[in-house]
Amino acid sequence: VSILAALALRAAGADGAAPLLVWIGRRVWPWPVVLGRAVEHSLFVDPPDTGARLWAIDQCLRGGVAGGGAGSGGLVGVVVVADASGLDMAGSRRLQLAAESGRGAIGLLARPPRERGVISAAESRWWVAPQAMEDSTRQPRWRLELLRCKGMPMAQSRAWIVEWMQGEGHEEQTPALRAVADVADRPPPEAPGAQATG
């Protein structure tokens, strides 16, 4: 799960100035080594309970200004990666609103597989599963399935297979994803309030 987050994250970080990356919940903390240089503007938050976790996600999406006085400039680029288990519809709507009220904050929420059926107000939802090994691969692969995306007919479901690119043979030190198969030609979600399910 968290790998995907790491990746999407990188995609968000690619556009120029380094945004602040906030990892909320120990379950989504990546090993800092894989983040490479991005470690320097990462923040790791370990909230004690679900309530505090949701509060922290909310704060970060809003751009970190508690009590949010009008005219306070939100953080320019915040990418929030959070463990969103136990999030219900109302909570997710709240977070979605928070993301929309902030400026340019991107939220990536990871939920455990058993919560696949729980509805949420996110911009898009993805199902992530490991992809079985094929002969040609030397890298971990996942299958990303777009479950729901605002403005897309429900029935239509699309899937991508992505590959982890780091290390051997790849020059870049920061991890990246490569879409390998199927319909896809673009990396994973970048819409505000995107939600990854996995």
Binding site: V1, S2, I3, A6, A17, L20, V22, P30, W31, P32, V33, V34, L35, G36, R37, V39, E40, H41, S42, L43, F44, V45, D46, P47, P48, A52, W55, A56, Q59, C60, G63, G64, V65, A66, G67, G69, S72, G73, G74, L75, V76, G77, V78, R103, A129, P130, Q131, A132, M133, R138, P140, R141, W142, W164, Q166, G167, H170, E172, Q173, P175
Partner: protein, 562 residues
Amino acid sequence: MKSRRLLCVQLPMWPIDRLRRRLERKRRDEGGAMRSTDCASEQAQSVARLFLISTRGNVQHVAACCRASQQAGVRAGMTLAQGRALVGSAVHVEEFDPAAERAAIKRLAGWASLRYSPLVSVDPCSLHNRIGAEELLPDGIVLDITGCERLFGGEERLARHMVQALGGAGFEARAGIGPTMGAAWAAARFGTREPGELCILSSEFHALRRQLEAMPVRALRIEPSTEQSLVELGLETIGHVLSLPRATLPSRFGSLLVRRIDQALGSAIETFEPVRPRPLLRLERLFDGPTPQQEAIESATRELLVDLSRELLKRESGVRVLEAQFERIGRNGRGTEVLRERLTLSAPSRAARHLWSLLRPRVEKLHLGYGIESIALVALRLGRLRHRQQEYVEERHQGNEASRHEAGELIDTLVNRLGPERVLRGELVESHVPQRAARFVPALEGPGRRSAPLMAPELRPTVLFDHPEPAEAIAMGPDRPPRLLRWRGRERRIVASFGPERIAGEWWRASSLSSDAWERDYFRVCDEGGRWLWVYREVPLFCVQDVPRAAAPRWFVHGVWA
């Protein structure tokens, strides 16, 4: 004209006394929770020997040690091992930090300048207090007490007062008073025998000269090399030196000697630069009688914050640690008690809005009782913050700095609710040992050092377990990757694997053999479901040909590509 009077206070055991105070404070803080449980061990700890060490190259030297160890023969400059051997009992060892000591003695001078005399300086000349090869550390302070003695009823009482105050705080101190800095310096160090004693030298020239003549040449504040050559010639006291023809001295012993003699006797002028501590920034608002209304308290606090930020703007600084004090009427309706709320910020700030957003939840939770009499804001620590129209920055002007500033606000908000140990930042460490390559530090401690340079990009899992999880594996051969792995209760068939990559522990760090001396063969493996694991096999150490290898190698899962 009445001559100047200077007071010199020497603190021979300053670093050690500070360390002892630190330890005692720590013990007190912990002792609140478990007072009765281990009194015995506390006592044992209180008599433990104290060492401060400095590391040069890779040798640890004793920089300072407590009296008890001095009596056992430990001297500054010895290696730590020597010192331990001499003392032979439990030793508490800490790293010696010259910068912190220097700052602390400056703070002491600041205290003295508020309490005893406006002209106080850190002793500018402590050539004999060499720590290590070239570190020069002040070990005392100088006060110009001319005229100040009246407030205390005489200079002797002033000095005794100060020495006792220092002694009460746990600092060994000796004092000397004289008409010049040189004389006072010598008096404090060589006119006293026991700690806590006081030596007063006369202002009258001949009497002063007589008193100084008995002191050793070292009291002249000369270079150790000069002292040595004087002593080799049998010139052991100042009297001996003074009896020599003055004209011959500079060519034989350097010009410093003559200058020091003149300074001690008052025929050459010596000046010092007084320390001027900045008073704490403190703003206060008194109510017209006890006020129990929450709204009134809140609005007063906000006004104070606005005033504070205006003050900070003038000083071109921002607050790092802010304490809000609320004076509340006592429970019995008589007397007052002070409620303190302390805010710690990750970056200096003077934005009233931000400070208020941090302070508000605390104020809301405040128990007002019969009413608040006054509110005070004290900026305990300030940080430099350059002028910027930060409140009104347009979005397009927001550069890196502005966004860093706001990141700071976000950190503060999170820390304020969740606590400092729950908001962390990552730090890369230059180490090839997986569990050491990165660590988390509280974000409050500031950006601090830059991360260590990265290792070559190697394949590393995205999640590393704190503790490797044992697994059962079947491998085709002793050096082959596993084919079947049982981990977390599931049997996985391994369809692909890469490796091995051998990683050895940093045995040179090992304090005990078991912790760091190991070798592991890491494999990246993929099971049939597509999950990638980072597994390793422990390589038996010291596998000499004759010794049979351990029957079954032990396997662990250390990380996953989640």
